[in-house]
């Protein structure tokens, strides 16, 4: 018997193109089995190609099924096929196969459910033994679906198809860019999320927060890493399914980490007259990631040229219409042809900086300049001095100095001091002194540069070597 079953299993797999075995622990719901219990309901969790011993009550019935899967465990982008087959042998003689391909076109966005019966209307016949294979696979093969939480399969051998159990829990169904995907650098990356919020969880004011950051930026030691994230918030107008998206420029290549959270606001009502909001509660949170890859030179050329054309066409100040036959204007046409606009020039410089200037060894110079210009990270605090020193009697004495508190406050106090007499009466200390200070520094720098160019700060002929001429 075992040998025969093995042959049946191999035959079925060979008939299912691109088949991928489904593993895990799907739910076999016997409640809808027309009073019959499938034998593996409490048996092996191995889902594919199980043998089901039918009770006599199933004879004369047809196969019905319902299944639901989630995209969170979906690893393939393409058509979906469920293969349900009943194998039966006839007294040790021939055997037949029934395959049922249920296709759901496109990529599922969240929970995908199917119900139906076998195509060939196979009726369970007394005295036969059946194999049932219910599999999820991409038609082109190579992928594997792993059964995850909430996935299930229900099988009935008669009556009507069992109803699918729709997931109504508050959840983040998917994010954009998709988890694990690779996108190209662009100035208009779509960042968003598709969420479902249960009516019982929803409060007006609830919102979805998406935070993303390049992992390379997290390498720098910063006092507040959360500031490194780019944060986008979307208000949720109502319960149920909502789809949010916005465009954001992403020019850094490498892996990005995305944190998506559904927040519900905490409110306190006062006799239904008014309410105040106190903080928020995270209902659901996911952490995903995507990779930004650089485009090939050809792709960049095509993309940028198209964008360049679009920019110029849409830019009224440098309109190509000036180059038209009937609207020709030499000044406008020359300007449109030879003077790059600001957006294009910015893209050009960014592309040069993120490309050529980032390569070793001169990339170290670029990085140094970036740090010196304050672009190394988003740190916005000074280090805190916190030390504990034991006193002679053994008791600890803690010294805690937070310069982030007293320096800004002290500076603000000094700057706000006002003159009580003279022409600047009523003006602040900074307003009066800063122009003088700036002029003094500018004069010193100018004199230093002039003297250096003339070489007059050197004695004898030594200055000649330092002259700019």
């Amino acid at each position: 018997m075992k040998k025969r079953l093995s042959i049946l299993l191999c035959a079925f797999i060979s008939l299912a193109p691109g088949i991928a075995l489904a593993y895990g622990t799907p739910v076999f719901d016997a409640e809808y089995a027309d009073g019959n219990t499938w034998s593996p309901a409490t048996g092996s969790p191995h889902f594919s190609s199980q043998y089901y011993a039918l009770s006599s009550a199933a004879y004369g019935d047809m196969l019905y099924y319902a299944a639901c899967v989630h995209q969170t465990t979906w690893v393939y982008s393409g058509s979906i096929n469920i293969v349900a087959g009943a194998f039966y042998s006839s007294g040790g003689g021939g055997m037949g196969t029934t395959n049922n391909y249920v296709n759901s076109s496109g990529t599922p966005t969240d929970q995908v459910c199917w119900t139906g019966t076998d195509v060939n209307n196979t009726t369970f016949t007394s005295g036969l033994q059946y194999w049932l294979d219910f599999e999820l696979n991409g038609w082109w093969g190579g992928n594997t679906y792993t059964w995850g939480p909430g996935d299930y399969l229900r099988i009935a051998d008669g009556g009507t198809p069992p109803p699918p159990v729709v997931d109504t829990s508050t959840r983040i169904m998917n994010t954009t860019p998709a988890d694990g995907s690779t996108i190209a650098t662009t100035t208009s990356t779509s960042v968003g999320a598709n969420v479902y919020i249960n009516p019982s969880d929803y409060e007006p004011g609830a919102y979805v927060q998406i935070q993303y950051v390049a992992d390379s930026a997290l390498q720098a030691a910063v006092a507040s890493p959360s500031l490194l994230y780019t944060t986008v918030n979307f208000q949720i107008a109502t319960s149920g399914e909502s789809d949010f998206a916005t465009t954001s420029p992403i020019s850094t290549t490498g892996h990005f980490t995305v944190k998506t959270t559904i927040y519900n606001v905490n409110k306190i009502d006062f006799f239904n007259l008014f309410s105040i909001t106190i903080g928020q509660t995270a209902l659901m949170s996911t952490s995903t990631g995507f990779t930004v890859g650089g485009l090939s030179p050809y792709d960049v050329l095509v993309q940028t040229t198209a964008k360049m054309m679009s920019d110029y066409v849409n830019n009224a100040s440098s309109s190509l219409a000036s180059c038209g036959f009937t609207t020709f204007d030499i000044t406008g046409c020359a300007g449109a042809l030879f003077i790059p606009n600001m957006a294009s020039t910015t893209d050009l410089v960014k592309g040069f900086k993120n490309g050529f200037l980032s390569y070793a060894p001169w990339g170290y110079v670029t990085r140094f300049i970036t740090i010196m210009s304050g672009g190394g990270s988003a740190t916005s605090s000074l280090p805190i001095l916190d030390a504990t020193i034991p006193l002679p009697d053994g008791s600890p004495a803690e010294f805690y100095i937070d310069p982030n508190t007293f320096i800004p406050q002290g500076a603000a106090m000094l700057n706000s001091a006002t003159a009580t007499f003279g022409p600047g009466q009523g003006e602040s200390f900074q307003t009066i002194i800063e122009p003088v200070w700036d002029d003094l520094l500018a004069l010193l720098v100018t004199i230093a540069i002039i003297f250096n160019m003339l070489g007059t700060h050197k004695e004898g002929g030594g200055g000649r070597k330092n002259k700019l001429s």
Binding site: F338, L348, G355, F356, T366, W437, D438, I449
Partner: protein
């Protein structure tokens, strides 16, 4: 458009030709010291100071102008070489 396209072309060529070189995202560690993190922390701390102490900020800008002038002079000397010395 034409000038932009020419510059873009050279950018692509340079990016493509040197793309075999490793891309630098952080400064290297020197003798176990994370130079990138230390420098970032120090410079950003300095910027925090300058936000409160404006005389320091203006002095920093003046120093940058001075060092920029020296760097420009050094670059001209490298590019023009001995010709500048004998002019």
């Amino acid at each position: 458009m034409i000038s932009y396209y020419i510059l873009l072309f050279f950018t692509y060529v340079l990016n493509a030709v040197f793309s075999f070189l490793p891309s630098v995202t952080t400064l290297p560690n020197i003798m176990g010291v994370n130079v990138d993190a230390a420098l970032t922390q120090g410079v950003n701390g300095f910027y925090v100071l300058t936000a409160s102490i404006w005389p320091l900020r203006d002095m920093f800008i003046a120093a940058m102008i001075w060092f920029g002038y020296l760097a420009l002079k050094m670059m001209l000397r490298v590019l023009l070489g001995a010709r500048a010395q004998h002019a």
